[in-house]
């Protein structure tokens, strides 16, 4: 069975203007009926497979984002939802903003938009599902383990050679 038949979402708001959050909530509401894909909007990282992160990461919430990511069991994928989550967006130069979600945790799919549209989000999640299946297959063969947030921090801060390591994330634009 493919794991993508039952993807459970977790949504966390970094420091967005809430525009993307409203769209994420709209996506999970009955109008778009994402339950038809087997998707459940869970509030719990331990039950989640897909992490939707909106807004940039700031110096106060970086530990929260790391903890949520680390608490999710493998296989897992991360979606940066909206331009702020992709690279910091309009808040990029603020004194407290570190940048996009990928400054603290590995991101698999970048979904641009300001605010990100539900259609784009669903498209992004569908792309994430393929990555989730690939990760699951690799994990079954014992070839894959996702980086923890501290390993990721060491990787992006440390030597550049490791950046091309196959163990890392696959980047796809939705």
């Amino acid at each position: 069975m493919r794991i993508s038949k039952s993807p459970w979402l977790l949504h966390y708001d970094g420091s967005s203007c809430n525009g993307c959050d409203i769209e994420v909530l709209a996506t999970t509401a009955p109008r778009f009926d994402i339950e038809r894909f087997g998707i459940i909007n869970t509030g719990n990282p331990r039950h989640a497979d897909i992490f939707l992160c909106t807004g940039g990461v700031n110096s106060q919430n970086q530990d929260v984002v790391r903890q949520i990511y680390d608490q999710m069991p493998d296989p897992k994928v991360v979606l940066a939802c909206g331009i702020c989550a992709c690279d910091g967006g309009i808040f990029k130069d603020c004194y407290n903003i570190l940048g996009g979600t990928d400054t603290v945790i590995p991101v698999d799919v970048y979904v641009p938009g300001c605010a990100v549209r539900p259609e784009a989000l669903i498209d992004g999640v569908v792309k994430a599902l393929k990555i989730l299946d690939e990760k699951n297959e690799k994990m079954k063969r014992g070839e894959y383990r996702s980086l923890t947030s501290s390993e990721y921090a060491a990787k992006i801060n440390g030597d550049v050679k490791e950046a091309g390591d196959s163990e890392g994330e696959e980047k796809t634009d939705a």
């Binding site: 069975m1 794991i3 038949k5 039952s6 459970w8 009955p30 009926d33 339950e35 038809r36 894909f37 087997g38 459940i40 909007n41 869970t42 509030g43 719990n44 331990r46 039950h47 497979d49 608490q71 069991p73 493998d74 296989p75 699951n136 994990m139 079954k140």
Partner: protein, 289 residues
Amino acid sequence: MTTYSLISVILYLILSPVIACLFSGVDRIVTARMQGRRGPKLLQPFYDIMKLFSKENTSVNEIQKILVMAHCFFAVFSGAIFFAGEDILLVLFALTMAEVFLILAAYSVNAAYSEIGAQRELLQMMAYEPMTLLTAVGFYLSVGSFKVGDIIRSDVPLIVKMPGFFLGFCFILVIKFRKSPFDLATSHHAHQEVIKGLTGDLAGPAYGFSELAELYEEILMLGMAGLFFISSDKISIIWAACAVVILLFCMSLVDNIFPRVKWESLLKSSWIVTLFAGGANLVILSLVR
């Protein structure tokens, strides 16, 4: 143990998760249609459980895994006793034991939401335990035996003698199935914070085991509901099956109509129903005997 009961136990062990998954799938579709949505696929609950078992095996501590597996074991065990036609009191005590293990698993992680979930689960147990025990007593008064094997051989369907007990039992069935308005400890909807407290810190296979236990438990509870309709007449099995299907539909309906109550209302309402429906029926049964 006769060959007959052995076969029924084996069927229970194999078919329960399948049937309960199908019931749950239909329930989710019916719920979605009531809300004007299309809803998930029929086999969605099955996909969910398979996924949980394929996830990484992480847990907050080692004892949590053992406690959840004990929960699952006792849930399956209590159902096995029931379908073997043995003592219904033993079934209920084993089921309580299963619940206690789940609560201990939630307490063991020492997390705020799990702790609230565990407390709420205890409150739910306080709410439904009197009625389940009264039901067992009702069966004894009607048939003269606690054995499920004897209860199913009664001359008339027991619903005739025990309408009050059945009403009370239906009421606590909503609690056991974790349906709104009584899904205080953990819910199938609203996977958020407090409402998902009890299973909040279970991840991957551990959560899978708790879900699996719930499937077995649901079949056991439906079996007990069916017990009210089964008599020595073979056709009564069809009536019992019809009753179970109607009961499931009513629970979906109730789930969609009522908002979640506070724990005070849960305790008050379930005890009032236990006292008036179950208690009155108990008095009448003992007088008529």
